[in-house]
Symmetry: C2
């Protein structure tokens, strides 16, 4: 086979492969006809859950949608997304729990109070149809530690306005929460820099 | 046991658990002493790879870092993150390949040219130490389809400035690319809305 024949054969095979892929994707898209807000869980041990939620914030803002962000746990430590949203996205309703990582406080009573106080912001957003997207960052830990009542939280997510999307992040999440989610991504930690000595990086990790 | 005794027992167990967790986290943090840019791969079939990279963009911007974003594949279709970055983040150097999804074009020659042209922007960023963060969105497909030379790409990522972080997204990625990555997250598709009929959602999926 000459070089141009090889190229032509490769092109043919490629076209066939792409056409097959396209028809599969087209079929899935055609079949998906329900339009409503999506409940999404970003879970797992790997890096990328909170940052994914933050990417969806700017996606929604790119269509001038109304966005609310509630960060459980975060607030005591510096974080890039917090700096950015406060400075550049005045239209976003943004609330951080502000007690620092829970394993630094280790006080079930004050943590429960902080979680309940923070939940009030989330609950208000989940019952307000003005919000197109509500991010509940690290919410799963509040359920795992029993700082918040699981049924109350799940009920609020289920009963939210039809057009509203909600993104929940954090490890775990539990069977009951998963049951009300439309999309679940489990971010597997295949490799993590800190295990071979790399310090958490400003602008990437926080 | 009285109710207050039960609470006290729960608190004790909780404190012990949290303290153990804290000492583990502290030990990992103390052990991680190397400060340099991180090479991160967000891969897997699940939802959240590109949005995670976009979240890191706003994290970096939250510290007024210099950011470059190159989106392979994207550009022909509307996308929220593109709208947002162009409108609200003039300091970000942003380039989209603009040929539309490759399974819509199915032409190996024009796709290769578009990929090469797009790669030039990426290569320039990867050799410029002014950039703190470079995002190469959906780059893996360019390698998988052999639109770009794998060795050239991997070499550019390896030889980038020490302080520069790079985030690569896309399914697959291959053994050679993975070998030069500090952190790898594999986003597993546990559940996806479109499989039970949910249309892709503006502000969440694109």
């Amino acid at each position: 086979m000459s070089k141009s024949e090889q190229l032509s054969a490769r092109q043919k095979a490629h076209k066939a492969k792409m056409a097959k892929h396209k028809s599969k994707v087209d079929a899935s898209i055609a079949a998906a006809q329900t339009e409503r807000g999506i409940a999404l869980l970003m879970t797992g041990n790997g890096k990328g859950k909170t940052s994914s939620a933050m990417g969806m914030v700017i996606r929604a803002l790119g269509y001038e949608q109304k966005v609310g962000v509630v960060q459980f746990i975060k607030g005591a430590q510096d974080c890039g997304e917090g700096n950015f949203i406060r400075t550049h996205c005045p239209a976003v309703d943004f609330y951080q729990m502000g007690t620092g990582f829970t394993w630094n406080t280790q006080d079930i009573e004050s943590d429960t109070k902080a979680a309940e106080r923070t939940w009030e912001y989330a609950a208000r957003m989940l019952s307000d149809e003005q919000y197109n997207l509500v991010v509940l960052d690290e919410l799963t830990y509040m359920l795992g530690y029993q700082y918040l009542d699981k049924d109350k939280v799940i009920n609020a997510i289920e009963k939210r306005p039809t057009e509203q999307s909600v993104v929940v992040t954090g490890r775990g999440g539990g069977r009951k929460l998963r049951a009300v989610m439309d999309t679940i991504s489990d971010v597997k930690d295949i490799r993590h820099g800190y295990r071979h000595g790399l310090k958490a990086r400003k602008g990437v990790d926080y």
